[in-house]
């Protein structure tokens, strides 16, 4: 399990009916907290995506005479940083790299981990042993340590931090995927498909995938929160992107010198990481209970 959160994994016994996802969506929309989180996340995501068209200040343009202005300064709504750059612009632009390095590893690990877990769970036997024992080795490292070890060995850089976080999350997703697949494999409808002559690939694609993806997806959404914290943590340490690039973790690091002069502005990048992380966590919780239709 991950270092930061261990979402109790509850695999809803999914009954595949035509309206399953519609029901889940309806239940999720009724959950006010989840909707609020989704709105906040979408706002941050869209702002980061369309940053150049929002009429913001240049996030790279500093000025020695305007350093560390407080929040609410005219023209500098959220103040300025240690080099006199507009904080609002840097926080919005910072979302681009921060969200990318936080979400991409989980996405990549979702694909790789699901594939590995499906293979291990469906094939069983020796192949299962090889894959799952390898996964066990990676579980012997606390995830923060593993991420930093790989990142530290590879050296600083965005690509390296995405690679290291992907390696951290693959075993976790594989383990979940394998246990879900093993559970589904022994169900009667898979047996029936096999008895009626369906080949392995068809069974995997048509009968297994639809039934295992849901629980794995929920688990993966819960990992995004951890991934955001770790990715920004890597850049906080200096293992991510380089200055003057705006990125929340790196901004938090470079603003540490300003905690005496302007503590509120110095803490702002962390507020963004916290907000995104908590919203993904709550959204994942909401999704999990929405998928648990029996309640």
């Amino acid at each position: 399990m991950s270092a930061i959160s261990e979402p109790a994994l509850q695999v809803p016994a999914k009954t595949k009916s035509s309206g399953y996802w519609a029901t889940v969506g309806r239940r999720l929309l009724r959950d006010k907290l989840s909707v609020l989180c989704a709105v906040i996340l979408l706002t941050i995501l869209l702002a980061a995506l369309f940053a150049p068209w929002l009429g913001l200040a240049d996030p790279y343009q500093g000025s020695m005479i305007r350093r560390l202005r407080p929040i609410g300064t005219p023209n500098y709504l959220l103040g300025t940083d240690e080099l006199g750059r507009d904080m609002l612009a840097r926080l919005v632009y910072g979302g681009r790299l921060s969200l990318l390095t936080g979400i991409l590893p989980v996405f990549l690990a979702f694909i790789a981990g699901t594939t590995l877990g499906l293979i291990a769970g469906y094939a069983g036997g020796k192949l299962n042993t090889i894959i799952m024992r390898t996964v066990d080795v990676f579980f012997a490292f606390p995830s923060v340590l593993l991420a930093i070890a790989i990142s530290g060995a590879l050296g600083a850089g965005i690509l390296n931090s995405v690679v290291s976080l992907t390696i951290v999350f693959i075993p976790q997703i594989t383990r979940v995927a394998e246990s879900v697949t093993t559970g589904v494999r022994n169900r009667d409808f898979v047996e029936a498909a096999r008895a009626s002559g369906a080949d392995t690939l068809t069974i995997m694609r048509v009968h297994m995938l639809g039934n295992v993806l849901g629980p794995i997806f929920v688990y993966a959404t819960g990992l995004i929160s951890v991934s955001m914290i770790l990715a920004s943590g890597l850049s906080f340490l200096g293992l991510g992107t380089k200055p003057p690039e705006p990125e929340w973790g790196l901004m938090l690091n470079t603003l540490r010198t300003a905690i005496y002069a302007n503590p509120v502005v110095a803490a702002l990048p962390g507020v963004m990481i916290f907000a995104v992380s908590i919203c993904f966590n709550l959204l994942s919780d909401g999704l999990r209970s929405a998928m648990d239709i029996r309640n």
Binding site: V137, F141, P142, L145, I229, G233, P263, A267, S277, I278
Partner: protein
């Protein structure tokens, strides 16, 4: 019981070999020459070759791995490229501070988590439950390095109550059990406690809910036991799982302390790892990670065995 312990230990051996292999390969995953940190830019070819031979980098990989493991078994993790001191001595020097921080944080996190979790589970779906679960979600979602900075801003910069960095007065790293030293532990320990607090609150809340819905609670109440007595039964039943989760969290804190130790300049293994990374001191990086990972494996083993001792149902599965 003994056979369970034996089985668990046998199961750990391949894991340990795998861990050693991963740590070993880390160095060879690294781009560039591992000697780049010690070699002067204008070093001659002969000097480079000489140093490479001295560190053993000129042999085939499997041979290097064999030698490395053999030496590690004999307590020799190589020499730090940056400081020239034995890696094991450097790590052991730092690990005490990390363990102290982790234990302090575990105590805080366990106490708060169990209290909040019991209260939330007992008063399920009331406002008390909502407050407790909100605190738990914040605990697991907060970037702890940011929480550390915020605590420094509040308690060191604004209120001037506690020191912001270091592990002792005047930058000393020797420890004593007096307030002059212990005040340095407060902020890092509180910061590290956030995550375990959140996770244990969630675990204990769920456990309490499950236990309270079981038939035996009904029976206890039916025979006239007061609520305090019922509560005691809940605690007894929740304890093994809560302790197992805490054991794992302790391991995560030992291995994942780098961010917090960097924020507070706490002279433990995390800070050592940080300097190893940025000085490209690969033997030190490799050795520190190996020791921390082995600690984690060992702790997992102890947790499993302890849990099986308390709860006899586990052995049979």
């Amino acid at each position: 019981m003994l056979s369970y312990i034996a089985r668990r230990i046998v199961y750990v051996i391949p894991i340990v070999i795998g861990v050693a292999l991963v740590c070993f390969l880390l160095v060879h995953l690294a781009p560039g020459d591992p000697l780049v940190a010690v070699l002067p830019a204008d070093a001659s070819q002969e000097l480079a070759a000489q140093l490479r031979a001295a560190y053993g980098f000129d042999r085939p990989l499997p041979v290097q791995f064999g030698i490395w493991v053999w030496k590690a078994l004999n307590g020799d993790l190589g020499t730090s490229i940056a400081s020239g001191r034995p890696v094991l001595a450097e790590v052991m020097n730092a690990v005490g501070n990390t363990i102290m921080l982790a234990l302090a944080a575990a105590a805080i996190g366990f106490f708060l988590g169990v209290s909040l979790g019991l209260i939330a589970g007992y008063y399920r779906n009331t406002w008390i439950d909502k407050v407790a679960t909100s605190i738990a979600v914040m605990g697991v979602s907060v970037p702890h390095y940011w929480l550390g900075i915020v605590l420094v801003i509040i308690f060191s910069v604004q209120l001037n109550w506690l020191p912001a960095v270091g592990a002792g007065p005047g930058g000393s790293s020797s420890w004593a059990w007096d307030w002059a030293h212990m005040q340095y532990l407060v902020l890092p320990a509180l910061t590290s406690a956030a995550i375990p607090m959140g996770i244990i609150t969630r675990t204990v809340r769920a456990l309490t809910g499950d236990i309270l819905s079981q038939d035996f609670v009904e029976a206890l109440r039916a025979k006239g036991l007061n609520e305090r007595g019922v509560f005691r039964h809940v605690i007894k039943n929740a304890a093994p799982t809560a302790m197992a989760v805490m054991g794992l969290q302790l391991g995560y804190m030992l291995g994942g302390s780098i961010l917090i130790e960097t924020v507070f300049s706490w002279p433990g293994t995390g800070l050592l790892l940080n300097s190893a990374i940025f000085q490209r001191d690969l033997p030190l990086l490799q050795g520190t990670i190996l020791v921390l990972a082995l600690f984690f494996v060992f702790l997992n083993l102890v947790v499993d065995i302890a849990q099986a001792t308390i709860d006899p149902r586990i052995k049979r599965s």
